[in-house]
Subunit: 216 residues, 2 copies
Amino acid sequence: MPNSDRISKPTSRRMSLYLRALQLQLNQGKAAISSKELGDQTGVKDAQVRKDLACFGSLGRPGVGYRIGDLHHQLRRLLGMDQTWKTVLVGAGNIGRALLAYPRFRNEGFDFVAAFDHNKKDVGKKIAGLCIQPMEELKKTVKQKHAQMGLIAVPPDAANKVAQSLVSAGVRGILNFAPIRLDLPKGIAVVNVDFTDALEQLAFEIRLSITEGKSV
Amino acid sequence: MPNSDRISKPTSRRMSLYLRALQLQLNQGKAAISSKELGDQTGVKDAQVRKDLACFGSLGRPGVGYRIGDLHHQLRRLLGMDQTWKTVLVGAGNIGRALLAYPRFRNEGFDFVAAFDHNKKDVGKKIAGLCIQPMEELKKTVKQKHAQMGLIAVPPDAANKVAQSLVSAGVRGILNFAPIRLDLPKGIAVVNVDFTDALEQLAFEIRLSITEGKSV
DNA sequence: GATTGTGAAGAGCTTCACAGCT
DNA sequence: AGCTGTGAAGCTCTTCACAATC
C-alpha cells in the first residue's frame, strides 16, 4: 500500500481524474502514457502529474512514460475501487432514485444493499431491484448487512438526523446530497455534493467572465 | 458591485456556504450574526469568514457582527442569485429528470426554458411542465430563448459534442454531470459535478480514516 | 466586553528547471 | 532524444494576533 496518508486533498481529487482518463485509454491498445499526455487529458500540468504519481514509487520509466495497466491498477487500489463497498440509500425521491439507477456506480464496486424512505407511499416499491424500506428499519438493516457507506438524499432538515442514525448503525462514510453541513464525529468521512452550490458557482463564474471581458 | 474579480475560488465556494447558512437564519428574527457563529455553522474559522466578507467593504460592525439582511443581500448579488438564469437541460435520463424536478433550483432563480434528449422515445414527454425536444432543435431553441446556461446530463461520449453545440448557440456556462473533461473555449464557464468522483473520494477518505485510526 | 478588519506569519500547493535514466 | 523524479522557487490560501471600533 502506498503512503496514502501523505496524499493531499487536491492530489486525491486529481487521482480520480487520472483514473477516469486511463479508463478511456485502456481499450486503445497503448501500453504507456506520459505525464504530458495524461495532463493534457485532465487539465493538469505535467510536473503536477508526476508529483502526484510519485506516491506510487518509481512507477514511470524515463523516456517511455507510465505503463497504463500498472497505473490503472494502482489508482484503483488507492481510491478504494479494488473492493466492494456496501452502500445504503436514504431518501428515495427524484435524486435518490436517479442515484440508485446510475449504472456507473455498480460498475465501480458500489453495491447498494438497501434503500429507505420516510414516505409510506413509496415503501415497498422496487427501484433498480431494491425494495424501499421504512426509516424505522434503517438501523437494524444497516447493521445486519454491514453497510459501510450511506448516501443521503433527503430534505436538509432531515439530513442530520439521518446521518446520526447511519453513523450509530456503523456506517463509516457519508455522501451527502442535502444542502446542509452535517455534524459528525471525527473519524467519519463525509463528501458533500450540493447542486445549488454548483449552480451558484457557475452563475458567479459566468458573471466574472463577462466583467473580465469588458474590463480587458 | 464588489471587486468580484479578486475573489478566489476557495472563497467563492465558502460564499455559497455562508448564503446557505444565512437562509436558515433569516426566519429566526435575529438581526446580526458574528463571524464566529457563521463560521461554526459552515465549518470555517472566524478569521477566514471575516477575510472572505471583506470584499463587501466594511459590512460588519465591531462588537455586533454582520447584519443578516444586508449580508444575505450582498451574497445573493455576488453569487448571481439576484437575477433569473435561463437554463436548458440536455439529457433527460434519470439524472436529468431529477434535476428538472429539483425544487430548489426554481426557488433560486434558475428558469428551465427547454429540455432535450437524443432518445426519440422520450421526445414529446412532459417533465416538470417542460416538453422534451429532440436534439435537432437544440441550437435553434437555445438561440430563440436566449438561454445563458446549459446542464449536461448525457453519457460521457456525447458530452463534448453537446457542449460545443450549446456554446455555439450562445450559452455562457455549463454545469456538467458527465464524467469527462469538456474542452471549451476560454471565456465559457464550466462547473463539473461527478458522482463517481465523489464516491471515490469517499472511499479514499474512509480507508484513510481507518488506517489512521490503526496507526495512532 | 465583544467583535471587526487586516498586516504579518505560517502552511500548503503548484510550477520551474534540471540532473539522471532509458 | 524523450521522459521521469525532485529540490528549490514561487505562489496562494489560511491562521494568528492585535489595534481599532461599537
